[in-house]
C-alpha cells in the first residue's frame, strides 16, 4: 500500500475528471486574478467598442464642418474665458475646422488601434517564423538570417520611413508595412533566443527520436512553447506601434486628412494648446489610457505565464 501511495492518491482525487487543465487555462485564471490587468482589459474593450460603434454614438460625421463653432469648447468646460461654447451635443468641443472632436477622437482610435494591431500581427507572424526557423535550424542559416536582421536594425527607422513615403507617396497601407517591417526585428531576436533554449530540451529530442520532421517540430513543439514570452512582447509592441504611428502623423507623414489618428489630433491640439487645450487633452487622454491598459495587460500576462510560478 505504501509503495503505491503517491501515485494512487493523485489518481483518486480526480478519477472522474477526464479533461486536464492545460497551462493556458491556468494562466488565464491567474490573469483574471490580477486586478490591474482586468481593469486594463475592461478599459481597452470599452475604447475598442466605442471606436467600432463611433457612428452610432454621435450625430456628427467625422468630416462634417460647422463654421459657426470653430475651436469652441464643450459646454461644461470650467474655464469661462474661451471664445465660444460649441453647444450641447459637441461633448468634447470642436476643432479649428469646426468638426466634432468626440467623433474625431473615436475615428482616431480606429486608425491607431488598427495600425497597432495589424502592424503587430505582421511583425508577429514574420518575427516568430523567422526567429523559430533561424534558431531551430541553426548553423550557417542562423548566421545569415540573423546578420540580415542586424543590418536592418542598423538602418535609422525614421529615415527609412521617410524614404519609403517619399518614393511611394503617402498611403495608409505603407504605414503598416513600414512599422511592421521594423518591429519584427526585435520579435525575431526574442523568438530565436527562446528557440535556442527550447531546442535542447528533452521533449524536442523525444519528438525527433519519435520520427517527427523539423517543420512539424517547429509548429507543434517549438512555437506553442515560446508563445508565453511572445504574447507578453506583443502587448508591449502594440503601444510602441501606436506611438510610432502618432510620431509619424505628428510629423505629417501619417494618415491623410480628413481621416485622422490620435497622433494627428495630438499634433493639431499641440498647436492650439494655449487657446483650446481640450483639443490636446482628449486625444492625449485616450491614448494614455490605451497605452496604460496595454502595459498593465502585458504585466499581468507576464506574471500569469511565468513558468517559474508553477
Amino acid at each position: 500500500m505504501s509503495l503505491l501511495a503517491p501515485d494512487a492518491t493523485a489518481a483518486m482525487i480526480d478519477a472522474q475528471e477526464i479533461h486536464g487543465r492545460s497551462l493556458w487555462v491556468d494562466a488565464r485564471h491567474r490573469l483574471f486574478e490580477n486586478k490591474a490587468a482586468v481593469v486594463g482589459m475592461f478599459l481597452l474593450a470599452l475604447i475598442a467598442l466605442m471606436a467600432i460603434f463611433a457612428p452610432l454614438l454621435s450625430q456628427y460625421s467625422f468630416e462634417y464642418q460647422n463654421w459657426n463653432v470653430v475651436s469652441c469648447s464643450p459646454d461644461w468646460w470650467p474655464d469661462t474665458t474661451v471664445l465660444c461654447n460649441a453647444g450641447g451635443t459637441h461633448w468634447f468641443g470642436t476643432d479649428s475646422l469646426g468638426r466634432d472632436l468626440f467623433v474625431r477622437v473615436l475615428y482616431g482610435a480606429r486608425v491607431s488601434l488598427a495600425v497597432g494591431l495589424v502592424a503587430t500581427l505582421v511583425s508577429l507572424i514574420i518575427g516568430v517564423l523567422y526567429g523559430a526557423i533561424a534558431g531551430y535550424v541553426g548553423g550557417m542559416l542562423d548566421e545569415v538570417m540573423m546578420r540580415v536582421v542586424d543590418v536592418l536594425y542598423s538602418l535609422p527607422f525614421i529615415f527609412f520611413v521617410i524614404i519609403l513615403l517619399v518614393i511611394f507617396h503617402r498611403n495608409f497601407f505603407l504605414l503598416f508595412v513600414a512599422i511592421g517591417a521594423v518591429e519584427w526585428l526585435t520579435m525575431a531576436r526574442i523568438v530565436r533566443g527562446q528557440t535556442l533554449s527550447l531546442k535542447h530540451k528533452e521533449f524536442i529530442e523525444a519528438a525527433r527520436a519519435g520520427g517527427v520532421g523539423p517543420a512539424a517540430i517547429i509548429l507543434r513543439h517549438v512555437i506553442p512553447n515560446l508563445l508565453g514570452p511572445v504574447v507578453v512582447y506583443v502587448t508591449l509592441t502594440i503601444p510602441n506601434v501606436i506611438l510610432a504611428e502618432s510620431f509619424l502623423s505628428f510629423l505629417g507623414l501619417g494618415v491623410q486628412e480628413p481621416l485622422t489618428s490620435w497622433g494627428v489630433l495630438i499634433g493639431d491640439g499641440a498647436n492650439q494648446m494655449e487657446i483650446a487645450p481640450w483639443m490636446l487633452i482628449f486625444p492625449a487622454l485616450f491614448m494614455a489610457v490605451t497605452l496604460f491598459s496595454f502595459n498593465f495587460i502585458g504585466d499581468g500576462l507576464r506574471d500569469a505565464l511565468d513558468p517559474k510560478d508553477r
Binding site: S2, L3, A10, I18, G20, F203, A206, G210, G211
Partner: protein, 600 residues
C-alpha cells in the same frame, strides 16, 4: 540523552499557493545531541528539506512556520533576520545540494570562506587566511593556497562541494545541516565527500544533520535516523534499529526497494534468458563522436565525448552502460539513434549500415529504435496532453493509421504501462514523476520497437518509484522480447536489468562483461572503484567496508591524456598529443578489460 543542542518541538510548516494551503511539515518534534549525526530520510515531497529550511528561517515568502526551535535552550524560531544572522553561518550552518549555485560566482574561493569568519568572528585578515587554508586542508583540497585565488567555475563539482563544506565549518559550528550534499555528485566523488564528513564529526565534534533520500548514504554516516513521509516523522531510532528492525511499513519499503550490490537478487535479467540463436540486432564498430570546442579565438580542440566504442547486441538482450557524468554514455545513445552526427565508425542495424542521410533508413530505424529519457517532466511537451505525446511517434511514423485506430492504440498502451486511459487528456504537470515516466515508456513502446534505449530513465525518480519503473520495463521486455540498452550511473539498478554490463570512462570502454562477472570479478581499477563507491544500505557492512579509492577529480575531457589515467606508463606528456589507445584484452570468455597499470 545528554543536553541536546538543537530542540525542535511541534513544528508546522504551511505554504499558501494558488491551489490552496499546503501543510509541508506536520507537528514534528526531535532533538539533535552534541557530536551526533542525525540522518533524515524521505522521498521527494516528504518535507525533509522544508523542515530544516524552516528552522533556519529560510522559508520562501509564502511559507509560515509555527512551533518551537531551540538552539542551546534559546528560542530561534521567528527571530528577526538580524538576530538570526548572528548565529546562522557561525553556530549552525547549512550545505545544499547543488554546489555551483550555492557559491557566489564572482568571488574567489578564499574571499567566500573568509567572509563568514570576518563577519562572525571579526578576526584580522591574516588570521582568517590562515584558518581558511587550514580548513581547506581538512577537506582535502590540494594546493589550498593557490585554490583560494580561484573562482567557483574553475573547480569541479566535487571540489566545489568540498569548498562548501569548508565554508560551512570554518567558523567552528556546533551543527552542520547537510541537505542532500552528495546527490548531484558522482559515486566516486560522493564516497570522498562522505569520508570527509565522517572525519569532521569525529575530529571537530560537530553535530551533523544528514538529509538524504539514499539509505546507503545514511547507513554509512548516521548515528540516529528519522524517516519522514508526507511531512511527518513515521519512525525514528538508532541506525541499527532502523535498518535491522524497522517497525513502520514505509521504512521497510524504503529499505527493500534500495537495489543492493552486496547481495544476489532475483533479477529481471536472470528471469529472461536470451535464446541461443538470437539474431544480432545492433553492431556498433569503433564509434566516435567528437565535438569541436573553442580553446582559443581561432583554435578548436576536439572534445572526444565518445572515442572508439564497439559492442554488439542480440535480440532480447539487455546491455547496461555504466559510467560517471561526462563519460559519454548519453552521447553514445544519441549517436546510435542518429540524433547526433557521428565523427567516425559504423552502426549496423540488422545487417544494414545506417546512414542518416537516407530517409527510408531513418524512418525504419525510428520505428524500431526508441528512447526513454531521464527527466520525465522535461521530456514531455508541457503544452500537449499525455495522449498527444504518446500518439506522436505513431502519427509521425505510420501516417496511414486512422484517428480512431491511433486513440485505440494509445489507450491500450496506457493500460499496459499502468495508466488509466481516462487520463488521456491530462497534462504532464498534473502527474507525478513516476506517472510521467510511465508516459515516457508508453511513448517509446507505442511503435513496438525492437530496441529501447533507457537513458538514465529512473535516475530522477524516488527509490520506491524507481523499483516500479524498472519492474515495468522488465515486464514489457518479457512480453515483447525487445532488446534494451540501459544507461545509468547507478550500478545497482543496472544489475537488476542487464545481461551484460559495459563500463565507460572518458569515452572509452574500460570493461565489458557478463553481469555476474563484472560484479563478482571486476578487473579494471576503475570498475573496482565504481563498485566499491556505491553505498550499501546496511550500517555494519557499510562501515566495515574497505574502499578502492580514486583520489582527486576526473580530469578534463579536453586533455588527451585523460583516458590514460589508469595507464600512466604510456602517457605522452602533452595535453594535445595523439595518445596511446588502451587495447581491450579478453581475460575470460566474453570478459573484456582495457589495459591498465598494475600499480598506480
Amino acid at each position: 540523552m545528554a543536553d541536546p543542542i538543537f530542540e525542535v518541538r511541534n513544528l508546522d510548516v504551511r505554504f499558501t499557493t494558488h491551489d490552496g494551503e499546503i501543510r509541508a511539515v506536520k507537528n514534528v518534534s526531535f532533538d539533535v545531541a552534541a557530536a551526533e549525526c542525525l540522518g533524515v530520510v524521505g522521498e521527494s515531497g516528504s518535507g525533509k528539506s522544508q523542515l530544516f529550511l524552516a528552522t533556519m528561517g529560510l522559508l520562501s515568502s509564502n511559507g509560515r512556520a509555527t512551533g518551537s526551535v531551540k538552539y542551546r535552550g534559546k528560542e530561534i524560531l521567528g527571530l528577526s533576520q538580524r538576530k538570526l544572522n548572528r548565529f546562522r553561518g557561525s553556530h549552525v550552518t547549512m550545505i545544499f545540494q547543488d554546489p555551483l549555485t550555492s557559491l557566489t560566482p564572482h568571488m574567489t574561493l578564499g574571499e567566500q570562506i573568509m567572509e563568514g569568519l570576518r563577519v562572525h568572528s571579526h578576526v584580522p585578515r591574516e588570521e582568517a587566511e590562515k584558518r581558511a587554508v587550514e580548513i581547506l586542508e581538512i577537506v582535502r583540497i590540494p594546493e589550498a593556497r593557490q585554490r583560494m585565488l580561484q573562482y567557483p567555475h574553475e573547480m569541479s563539482g566535487g571540489m566545489r562541494q568540498r569548498a562548501m563544506i569548508a565554508m560551512a565549518t570554518v567558523c567552528g559550528p556546533d551543527l552542520l545541516i547537510a541537505d542532500e550534499p552528495t546527490t548531484a555528485l558522482d559515486v566516486t566523488v560522493q564516497a570522498q565527500i562522505l569520508e570527509i564528513m565522517r572525519e569532521l564529526k569525529t575530529e571537530l565534534k560537530t553535530s551533523i544533520v544528514m538529509i538524504s533520500h539514499d539509505m546507503g548514504v545514511i547507513a554509512g554516516i548516521a548515528d540516529r535516523v528519522q524517516v519522514m513521509r508526507e511531512g511527518e516523522i513515521v519512525e525514528s531510532g538508532a541506525v541499527e534499529d532502523i535498518f535491522y528492525r524497522p517497525r513502520h511499513a514505509y521504512t521497510k519499503v524504503l529499505i527493500d526497494s534500495m537495489p543492493r550490490l552486496d547481495k544476489a537478487e532475483d533479477t529481471a535479467a536472470a528471469r529472461s534468458a536470451i535464446a541461443p540463436d538470437a539474431v544480432k540486432l545492433l553492431d556498433v564498430v569503433d564509434l566516435k563522436v567528437h565535438f569541436p570546442v573553442n580553446a582559443a579565438a581561432w583554435i578548436t580542440k576536439p572534445l572526444r565525448a565518445v572515442d572508439g566504442v564497439s559492442f554488439t547486441l542480440r535480440q532480447g538482450e539487455t546491455l547496461g552502460i555504466v559510467g560517471e557524468s561526462g563519460c559519454g554514455k548519453s552521447t553514445l545513445a544519441r549517436a546510435i539513434l542518429q540524433l547526433l552526427p557521428r565523427t567516425d565508425g559504423t552502426v549496423v542495424w540488422l545487417g544494414r549500415d545506417l546512414d542518416a542521410h537516407r530517409k527510408d533508413d531513418m524512418r525504419k530505424l525510428r520505428k524500431e529504435l526508441q528512447i526513454v529519457f531521464q527527466d520525465p517532466l522535461a521530456s514531455l511537451d508541457p503544452r500537449r496532453t499525455v495522449g498527444q505525446s504518446i500518439a506522436e511517434p505513431l502519427t509521425a511514423l505510420m501516417p496511414l493509421l486512422s484517428r480512431a485506430e491511433v486513440s485505440q492504440r494509445v489507450a491500450r498502451m496506457m493500460t499496459r504501462v499502468g495508466l488509466d486511459p481516462v487520463w488521456i487528456n491530462r497534462y504532464p504537470h498534473e502527474f507525478s514523476g513516476g506517472q510521467n515516466q510511465r508516459v515516457g515508456v508508453a511513448r517509446a513502446m507505442i511503435v513496438e520497437p525492437k530496441l529501447v534505449i533507457c537513458d538514465e530513465a529512473v535516475s530522477a525518480l524516488d527509490v520506491s518509484i524507481q523499483a516500479q519503473i524498472v519492474e515495468l520495463i522488465a515486464d514489457l521486455q518479457a512480453q515483447t522480447g525487445m532488446s534494451l540498452i540501459f544507461i545509468s550511473h547507478d550500478l545497482a539498478i543496472v544489475r537488476r536489468l542487464s545481461h551484460r554490463v559495459m563500463v565507460l570512462y572518458m569515452g572509452q570502454v574500460v570493461e565489458l562483461a557478463d553481469r555476474e562477472a563484472i560484479y563478482a570479478d571486476p578487473r579494471h581499477p576503475y570498475t573496482k572503484a565504481l563498485i566499491s563507491a556505491v553505498p550499501v544500505p546496511d550500517p555494519k557492512i557499510e562501515r566495515a567496508r574497505k574502499r578502492a579509492k580514486l583520489t582527486g577529480d576526473l580530469p578534463s575531457p579536453l586533455d588527451s591524456r585523460a583516458p590514460l589515467t589508469f595507464l600512466k606508463s604510456k602517457i605522452i606528456n602533452d595535453p594535445n598529443a595523439e595518445q596511446y589507445r588502451p587495447k581491450l584484452l579478453q581475460v575470460a570468455p566474453g570478459h573484456l578489460v582495457a589495459e591498465y597499470d598494475e600499480v598506480i
